[in-house]
């Protein structure tokens, strides 16, 4: 048998063995996991609602015109009743979903990018800079984040973009740590030495060869960071440090709280944003854990 035939034979036998893994993408594997499936369903539903909802049911942020319209329980006109200014809560919840998701996604994008870059660079290079960046990371780790966010938000003002920046720039240390620890082990592999001997620049080694190797970690971490960022936004807004112009679930809870909705037993004001936050955070956590289980072979059981 000549070499070519042997090669072809090898090819078919390996693809037979690997078939189960090869043909299953990670989305399919996630769908097979009940928790992952629940996570995906909720996530897709929330994202669709947050995109389509405000178009179909636009929210009028101007206050209602009569005192009678305030704190009305759910009815056929206002499906989830009205708030302390006579505005429709159903429509507010839909718009709030958009703001909460937007803040969550952009803040975690900043956090992941900063964390991944700090992790990659400080893991790849030795020496003073690497140590310094890890001490900075430690500093952010031990810092009580919530008080810091409150202080920063009150210094820089109540603007949605400031909120995003503040959340993004305080939540990167865990990503940096996780990425760095993985980079430390990958940089010692023989293939990195080989790539160096190809005459590749450090930039190429880090971003074309090490980054793809830590990508699974970054994926599963991203999903968990998003959940944290959405919670952080809700917390800030609930404490009254959110953007007062935009309706988010956090600001809704804040106004429900300050207007005494609980005392008036206006459950329709408190529940929708609360359930929204819980569902979104739950869905991201579920997908994140399932993703982690799929992408981290050590958590896999055969």
């Amino acid at each position: 048998m000549n070499e070519k035939n042997i090669n072809e034979k090898n090819n078919t036998s390996t693809s037979l063995i690997l078939g189960r893994f090869k043909n299953e993408t990670w989305v399919q594997q996630m769908w097979a996991d009940p928790l992952g499936k629940a996570g995906i369903i909720i996530l897709v539903a929330v994202i669709l609602i947050s995109i389509i909802g405000p178009i179909v049911f636009p929210f009028d942020s101007k206050a209602g015109d009569s005192v009678e319209g305030v704190f009305r329980p759910p009815s056929s006109v206002h499906w989830l009743g009205t708030d302390d200014m006579g505005r429709d809560i159903f429509r507010a919840t839909l718009t709030g979903a958009q703001v909460s998701l937007f803040v969550g996604l952009t803040a975690s994008a900043i956090s992941i990018i900063v964390g991944a870059i700090v992790g990659l660079l400080s893991g790849y290079y030795f020496g003073f800079g690497s140590n310094l960046s890890m001490r900075v990371t430690d500093f952010f780790f031990v810092l009580p984040v919530l008080p810091l966010i409150i202080v920063l938000a009150s210094i820089f003002g109540q603007n949605i973009y400031i909120t995003i920046l503040v959340i993004g720039l305080t939540s990167w240390p865990s990503t940096a740590r996780i990425v760095r620890s993985q980079v430390l082990s990958i940089r010692e592999y023989k293939f990195i030495e080989r790539i160096k001997s190809l005459g590749a620049t450090d930039f190429r080694i880090i971003f074309a060869h090490i980054l793809p190797n830590v990508m699974p970690l970054i994926y599963s971490n991203t999903v968990l960071v998003i959940a944290g960022a959405i919670l952080a936004e809700a917390t800030l807004a609930f404490l009254g440090l959110g953007d007062p112009v935009r309706v988010s679930w956090g600001t809704m809870l804040h106004y429900a709280f300050v207007s005494g909705a609980a005392g008036r037993q206006a459950w329709w004001y408190l529940l929708p944003p609360g359930i929204g936050i819980v569902l979104v955070v739950l869905s991201f956590t579920l997908t994140g854990h399932t993703l982690d289980k799929i992408l981290n072979p050590r958590l896999r059981d055969y």
């Binding site: 070499e3 090819n11 080989r194 001997s197 190809l198 005459g199």
Partner: protein, 319 residues
């Protein structure tokens, strides 16, 4: 024409116990189109010497003195930027342990394409891919396997792929650092046959490291024997194998069983190599040598010409 000339190269590694003098005044040279074999026991500085050529030593190493003249230029004087352009384009390396030398999450083909795109930016990706495919064919791998991942290759195929990669930029010098260790004997024979064919076809200049002397004898034009960071014997493969001059080489040759000869008890070399933290002042082989003289422990022998193109570092051989 001398392609590579290593002159009095000394390298030490920093460690907590002190400086380890891994390479101590090594002189090696290589003519264009020839294959040089370097042999010696583990830790004698073979890999350190050749990795120094493309300046790939780890950060705790220091090249204390010496010159590495490649095509008339001293590589030790080059900046890191200049070295990046030389690596692979002029000097490529076939690493030992091919299974670890490939990035597990990139296809084998794309990893062979990479050096072409780095060093020849004007080559289109399509051209690089077709070149890679013909390279794969030339090392006996079907070009259909281009987009396979390393784990889908067998050990021998990965080593073939590494050889294809080392030839991707048509380098003037190929360094093979134990290219057949960790492969079984049949595959070793195939790979060596492949290297032999390619080196004849492309008239490659090569440095090959091995501790298997029979491998080197079958393949190389020149052989250098290293011991404790020094070259003890250098000459044509035939001379070194048939008439070893240095006592260490002679004992090494005696330790290879001859399948055609009578049955003899293999005679090892008693003792251990010296501690490279405190290398001996005199000959490094002094303690284990049967032909030692009083001057051997006082003065390190230099690598001198003892007969036509045959060099040895031994006081006993100078007479």
């Amino acid at each position: 024409m001398t392609l590579l000339d290593i002159q009095k190269l000394s390298i030490c590694f920093h460690s907590r116990a002190g400086d380890v003098h891994a390479v101590d005044g090594v002189n090696i040279w290589l003519e264009k189109g020839k294959i040089l074999g370097i042999a010696g026991e583990s830790g004698c500085g073979k890999s350190t010497t050749v990795l120094a050529i493309s300046r790939l030593l780890s950060a705790n190493s220091r090249i204390s003195h010496g010159k590495i003249i490649f095509k008339g230029e001293d590589l030790l004087q080059k900046t890191e930027k200049e070295m990046e352009a030389i690596r692979w384009k002029h000097i490529s390396v076939i690493f030992q342990g091919s299974m670890n030398a490939l990035n597990p999450i990139k296809t084998v083909g794309s990893q062979i394409v990479e050096p072409i795109l780095i060093h020849e930016p004007r080559t289109s990706e399509k051209e690089a891919i077709s070149r890679t495919k013909s390279l794969l064919e030339s090392v006996g791998i079907s070009s259909k396997r281009f987009s396979n991942y390393p784990h889908e290759f067998s050990g021998g195929m990965r080593q073939r792929a590494m050889i294809a990669m080392s030839l991707s930029c048509q380098p003037e010098l190929v360094i093979a650092d134990e290219p057949v260790t960790a492969l079984d004997v049949m595959i070793q024979a195939q790979i060596l046959e492949l290297i032999k064919q390619l080196s004849e076809k492309l008239s490659l200049s090569m440095i090959m490291i091995s501790h298997d002397l029979s491998v080197l004898f079958g393949l190389c034009d020149q052989i250098a024997i290293m011991y404790a960071g020094r070259v003890v014997e250098y000459g044509s493969a035939n001379d070194v194998f048939k008439n070893p001059i240095h006592p260490y080489t002679a004992r090494l040759m005696q330790s290879i069983p001859n399948i055609f000869g009578e049955k003899v008890l293999i005679d090892g070399i008693p003792g251990y190599p010296p501690d490279l933290l405190n290398p001996p002042v005199g000959c490094a082989f002094f303690d284990r040598c049967v032909e030692r003289m009083s001057c051997c422990s006082e003065r390190a022998p230099e690598l001198l010409n003892v007969s036509k193109n045959h060099f040895s570092a031994c006081h006993a051989s100078y007479k």
